[in-house]
């Protein structure tokens, strides 16, 4: 397993694109978060965003797409170049290979996610007081010492890691980068859009409970916790179930098919 890990790590590390993409995760997340924070202003109570923790982590919505690209390319790149045959010849135990890939991809997502979340919260802490989110208006400065903020921050990092695992599973199953990205981003972004058409409150709530993105991102909620469609950790659990199902499907297909 150690050798499998070091092999996968070497393959990913020596690709010049990987570093840029991970940098992209951090840059996109922090930029969108900072932009969203700067675009709101808390001049009247109606205009104030109720949840500044969630607001300052907005970049996750887009940063996750780059995480998905990193994870998808980790396996489809091998299929595109034919490298997969070499890999499987060297490591005939396919489950071990997939597990090693999952570990490497998770590690990268955790590392980039930590930087992205840290940068986003820092940007929020610096920008938001200038937009009127001051303690006087009932908005204390964002701080990781606050257990709710800490839960949101750590949870968002885990969320990005689970997105990476979901993407790896889907990519292993379909073996093509464009298709895999389309399926993953479709799963993530389509459910909330559907919620617009379905205005019946009951259906809307169910949709939010089962969708990988809306359920998973409840981990960022810091206010109105009793009104959430699903509690933060349970929501992350829903995403974990999606990721597990995708990895299982990918792993099974990898074992059953010729490469």
């Amino acid at each position: 397993m150690t050798r499998a890990l070091s092999a996968e790590w070497a393959k990913v590390r020596t690709l010049p694109g990987t570093g840029w993409l991970l940098l992209g995760v951090v840059a996109v997340t922090v930029a969108v978060s900072a932009g969203a924070s700067a675009a709101t202003s808390c001049t009247s109570s109606a205009a104030c965003h109720p949840d500044i923790t969630q607001l300052s982590l907005t970049g996750t919505d887009l940063g996750q797409a780059v995480v998905a690209v990193v994870a998808v390319l980790a396996i489809t790149g091998e299929y595109a170049t034919g490298m997969i045959r070499t890999t499987l010849a060297a490591m005939p135990r396919r489950t071990v290979m997939l597990t090693a890939k999952a570990a490497v991809v998770t590690t990268m997502a955790l590392a980039a996610g930590t930087l992205a979340v840290g940068g986003s919260l820092l940007a929020g802490r610096l920008i938001l007081p200038g937009q009127g989110y001051t303690p006087a208006h009932g908005y204390p400065a964002l701080s990781l010492a606050d257990p709710t903020v800490l839960r949101a921050a750590a949870g968002t990092v885990l969320y990005l890691a689970l997105i990476a695992l979901l993407s790896l599973g889907v990519a292993t199953a379909v073996r093509d980068a464009a298709t895999a990205i389309g399926i993953v981003l479709g799963l993530l972004y389509l459910f909330p859009v559907l919620g617009l058409a379905v205005t019946s409150p009951g259906w809307h709530r169910h949709l939010q409970q089962i969708a990988p993105m809306t359920a998973g991102l409840e981990i960022q909620a810091s206010t109105g916790l009793s009104h959430l469609p699903i509690s933060p950790w349970a929501g992350l659990g829903v995403l974990a179930a999606w990721a597990a199902a995708a990895l299982l499907a990918g792993g099974l297909l990898l074992r059953l098919r010729d490469a």
């Binding site: 887009l62 980068a177 464009a178 389509l190 058409a197 205005t199």
Partner: protein
């Protein structure tokens, strides 16, 4: 002696060559089973989600949703339709008498203020900028009947409005005892003329309205109304009160009495009730509601007939993937070298590819969105929900526009595929540019106001404007956001923004394709 001239053999004409290129690209498309299946799946997803959206709205209660989440009212009374067939709100406090023929209504307004809203949790007593107090001549007491009115508004000065959608500005500024506003409406047959004045002697013409088919006897009087206070999450009713004096209706029969009436759909729709008090020629009138075209907002209760069009998002993602793969698969397999050897005019290859992918996605999109809209509409009507009426032309524009959106987006993805030559980048980029801006401004509503508007003006997501069915009215304050189906650009301008992105990408792709080794 004659010189034999040898005419060099002309190469196949350019158009015939291009026709063969088109045929070649078409063959490549239809012989890849996965792409054909993907296009069918794209259409089926669009339809399936459309039907599902129609079904998912079953059992939606009518009436207002209060800030505490409680819904007032149960049964779905159909909201009134105005003279032009659009859905309207026709709710105000009316102090009226009958006007049997021609005549003039005059009144002086000395105050217009917001009132406290008893029983509305989280309500506001602030004066709404489109709160209205003034004089009105109305064809009948039927909901949605024709009218013309002169009014003072909370924040937009004197206005003349008629038949719900027409709005003309008069004297600017607010109203107070020191700066009263005189209002006058003159009826002559079916023509009503509005005047305003600051002193009651110097009158200024504001506008003229012709209300076709106005009956002989009409209702005339004074009114006050105050529209919902709309935020992104909810809409709560408000109350305003106006003070009138010098109220006269000339031309009415002798001995006519004033009658006060809370005109509207009843307490199920608006829990606030108005009233009036008459003392020494002063009328104090309190009212809640609006006389305006109906708009979509957080108050919910009504849906547009084309709710099924949401399914286009699913079809769009499939179209983006197939558009990308139509070229990146050639790079991946090395087929691009064969293609370019067979057709050395590279820009023509790109053009043929763009035409084939656009035609295929347009066809799939047209079939999918037409079925989605029509079936979704059937489901909605079956659910007993209130549905905004949508004209046939508008519906056709939404369907054809959505198909065009899919086709242009697929060409955009194809062009990015040529530029990047790998599959992951173009799919991510097009989804990030097309779906995510809509996502930020619509369902998640992370961005609001000008930031959201700009995002939907400059990104390719502007093209979703082609799906807008309800007009935004400047004289109705509302959250006009993508969440409720309102876009900052007109439909075809929005589609043009996407075209510009696709054209720019296609230009760069052509340039790179000709310059680079394959």
């Amino acid at each position: 002696m004659t010189t034999a001239t040898v005419t060099p053999r002309r190469p196949a004409t350019e158009s015939a060559g291009f026709g063969r290129l088109l045929f070649a690209e078409w063959t490549k498309f239809v012989t890849v089973r996965g792409w054909v299946i993907a296009m069918i799946v794209s259409a089926l997803l669009t339809v399936g989600i459309g039907i599902w959206a129609g079904a998912g709205t079953h059992g939606q209660p009518c009436g207002e949703i209060l800030p505490n989440g409680q819904t007032v009212g149960g049964a779905c009374a159909s909201p009134p339709l105005g003279p032009a067939g659009e859905m309207v709100t026709d709710s105000f406090y009316f102090v009226r008498q009958s006007l049997p023929g021609d005549g003039t209504v005059t009144a002086r307004l000395t105050a217009l203020d917001g009132s406290a809203t008893p029983g509305i949790a989280g309500g506001t007593s602030a004066l709404q900028s489109w709160a209205k107090a003034g004089i009105i001549i109305k064809a009948s007491l039927r909901q949605g009947s024709a009218y013309a009115a002169m009014m003072v508004t909370g924040g937009h000065g004197v206005r003349m409005q008629y038949d719900y959608t027409h709005d003309t500005a008069g004297l600017p500024g607010g109203v107070s005892a020191a700066a009263p506003r005189w209002l006058r409406l003159v009826r002559s047959g079916d023509t009503l003329t509005g005047y305003d004045s600051a002193d009651g002697t110097h009158w200024t013409l504001v506008g003229t309205a012709r209300l076709p088919g106005l009956t002989t006897a009409v209702q005339a009087g004074i009114f006050v109304t105050s529209p919902d206070w709309v935020t992104n999450e909810n809409a709560s009713p408000t109350l305003a009160s106006g003070v009138f004096d010098h109220v006269t209706v000339s031309g009415s029969g002798p001995g006519s009495q004033w009658t006060g009436q809370d005109f509207g759909l009843g307490a199920a729709y608006n829990p606030l009730s108005g009233g009036y008090r008459q003392t020494d020629g002063f009328f104090t009138v309190q009212g809640s509601g609006d006389i305006a075209p109906a708009v979509r907002n957080a108050a919910g209760g009504s849906s547009t007939a084309d709710a099924g069009i949401t399914g286009v998002f699913a079809g769009l993602i499939v179209a983006l993937v197939v558009g990308t793969m139509f070229i990146t698969a050639e790079y991946r397999r090395g087929l691009i070298r064969t293609t370019l050897a067979a057709a050395p005019r590279r820009s023509q290859v790109l053009a043929a590819k763009a035409i084939v992918i656009a035609a295929v996605t347009f066809a799939a999109g047209l079939a999918g969105s037409a079925a989605a809209v029509l079936l979704g509409e059937r489901m909605l009507r079956g659910s007993g929900r209130v549905i905004f009426p949508v004209g046939g032309l508008t519906e056709a524009r939404v369907i054809a526009g959505s198909a065009a959106l899919l086709a242009i987006a697929a060409v955009f993805a194809l062009a990015l595929g040529v530029i990047m030559r790998h599959g992951a980048g173009p799919v991510t980029a097009t989804i990030a540019l097309l779906v995510v801006p809509f996502f930020f401004t619509g369902p998640m509503a992370v961005l609001q106001g000008t930031a959201a508007d700009w995002l939907l003006r400059v990104t390719p997501a502007a093209a979703f404007a082609v799906q807008q069915v309800l007009p935004a009215y400047p004289q109705v304050s509302n959250t006009y956001t993508a969440q409720y189906g309102y876009y900052p650009l007109p439909p075809w301008a929005g589609l043009a923004v996407l075209c510009a992105w696709a054209a720019a990408a296609l230009g760069l792709a052509g340039f790179l394709l000709c310059r680079r080794d394959a």
